[in-house]
């Protein structure tokens, strides 16, 4: 019997008096691209960090490839993370390292690959995201925001993960660059056959890269369905969100 690659069951997370996640149930199959939409403060980033093991849930269980990794530490956590790539909203590139060292970071520091070999792999991977070898020698501060996202994408795919998380991949980019990033995400995910979980509130991006879309509202998944059905979901919260209306059951986060 096959099991989902990632499964969250009844995950809850509270900060002080603020309950951010109120029993999230979600799963992602191999090769599937799931996009999670939701407004600011709906708990998307916390859900992603909990799934990655950067935060521990107060309640609930997280399964990765059938194994309970909710409380995993040490080697078990490292083994799981070796199969996961992550593109952070800010890029989160290491300032003190060059672009190629950022891309090859996992190969050098976690897999123990020789720097010369790792550099070759990093340059090859940069080519996949349409960046030339000359960019490899630059520092993150010397390249544009769009290029930083592409470098971060290259870093997340270099070790050919089974699952890639994308945290707001198009935020802060102009529409053309954002579309180019969407194309690259699709190309990389399809090329690797990896599962992808993307959190975003950019509907153009969601429609383009999603097989399925789920909506997170007040710490719970309130709707999930095929991407083509998102504009005819029959859910008033989803309707308001995808059409970007201020009037409706969701109060704007002002």
């Amino acid at each position: 019997m096959t099991h989902p690659l990632l499964r969250l069951e009844g995950v809850e997370k509270t900060f002080g008096r603020n309950q951010v996640l109120r029993g999230v149930d979600i799963d992602v199959a191999r090769g599937q691209s799931l996009v999670i939409i939701g407004g600011s403060g709906s708990g998307k980033s916390v859900m992603l960090k909990t799934a990655l093991g950067l935060m521990t849930p107060d309640k609930g269980t997280i399964f990765f490839d059938g194994d309970d990794v909710t409380q995993a530490t040490g080697k078990a956590r490292e083994k799981m993370r070796a199969r996961i790539g992550m593109l952070f909203q800010s890029g989160a590139l290491f300032d003190s390292l060059t672009v190629w060292e950022n891309v090859a970071f996992r190969l050098i520091n976690s897999e123990g690959m020789r720097r010369k070999d790792a550099k070759e792999r990093a340059i090859e991977t940069l080519k996949k995201v349409r960046l030339g070898p000359d960019v490899g020698a630059l520092y993150p501060a010397e390249i544009s925001g769009g290029m930083q996202k592409r470098v971060s994408l290259a870093r997340s795919i270099i070790s050919e993960p089974d699952l890639i998380f994308f945290d707001e991949p198009t935020t802060g980019l102009d529409p053309i660059t954002a579309d180019a990033i969407n194309d690259l995400i699709l190309e990389m995910v399809r090329g690797l056959g990896a599962a992808a979980v993307t959190i975003t509130h950019d509907m153009a991006s969601a429609r383009k890269i999603a097989d399925e879309i789920a909506m997170l509202y007040e710490g719970q998944i309130i709707w999930r369905g095929p991407a083509k059905d998102v504009y005819a979901s029959g859910n008033e919260y989803v309707d308001q969100f995808v059409n970007g209306r201020a009037e409706g059951p969701i109060q704007p986060a002002l």
Partner: protein, 260 residues
């Protein structure tokens, strides 16, 4: 409104929980520093940043402290006709106390606050989360190299500060107070003992640990935004300075007790 006893109780609990968190953090950093894997390149890079780049500020501080010390001892000693003790008191004061304390305090500002600001900025820009997702422990990759580098470089900096501080006293004594250069240096070398130098160097190792741990700890706990990073830098500098002075007193007492 809370009554004073509640306030005192809350503050006491807060203090002890902070000490507990700091102790657990220090234990983790020490554990990462003592067991493989070590990032040699990072350790070397930190040794250059903590040690080499601190040389000018430590050297300048030491020469002025040595010079001022010589002047004050001469002034005080002349009241009892004891000017000849200037070389011995300068070298004793510099090697056992001032060289190491001044170096420690200068590095609490330059290094500890710098580490806290750097790690705090990494925390708020998600670089530390990125590190963890790339299967690299922040304790091993970020904190242990800084800790090891500080433990190694502080004694070297203090040894240099001792020499430069003594030379500061020599400069003022020879060119301002009419001491004979050869006699001054001979008195200095005859008076100073291995124990005096060793006492300062042992303190330097401890201060190195304090500086690195406080910087890493406050940076790791940094809150979001420029204010959070600024606060982390301030807290690390103040915390490191207070701990250096406290440990200095405790160790001085201990060294007197054991005859070091």
């Amino acid at each position: 409104m809370q009554n004073p006893i509640q306030l005192i109780g809350r503050a006491t609990l807060g203090l002890f929980s902070e000490i507990g968190r700091l102790a657990v953090f220090a234990g983790r950093v020490k554990g990462a520093a003592l067991t493989p894997r070590w990032y040699g390149g990072e350790i070397l890079r930190q040794m250059v940043r903590i040690g080499f780049y601190s040389l000018p500020v430590v050297g300048l501080a030491a020469v002025f402290i040595g010079a001022a010390l010589a002047l004050n001892i001469y002034e005080g000693g002349s009241r009892y006709g004891a000017e000849q003790f200037v070389p011995s008191i300068v070298v004793l004061g510099i090697t056992r106390e001032l060289g190491v304390v001044i170096t420690g305090l200068m590095l609490a500002g330059r290094v500890s606050a710098g580490i806290a600001a750097e790690i705090g900025a990494m925390r708020v820009t998600e670089q530390i989360d990125a590190l963890e997702t790339l299967s690299a422990s922040r304790y091993r990759y970020l904190y242990a190299p800084r800790f090891i580098a500080a433990l190694i470089t502080l004694p070297v900096l203090v040894a240099l500060a001792d020499i430069i501080g003594v030379m500061g006293g020599w400069l003022v004594s020879v060119y301002g107070l009419d001491f004979d250069s050869t006699v001054y240096l001979r008195n200095t070398l005859d008076f100073v003992t291995t124990n005096d130098i060793l006492a300062g160097l042992i303190k330097a190792v401890v201060f190195g640990g304090v500086i690195a741990i406080m910087g890493c700890y406050q940076g790791d706990r940094s809150q979001a935004g420029a204010t959070g990073v600024g606060r982390a830098a301030t807290l690390s500098m103040v915390g490191a300075a207070v701990l250096i002075l406290a440990f200095n007193y405790v160790m001085s007492t201990l060294f007197v007790e054991i005859g070091l």
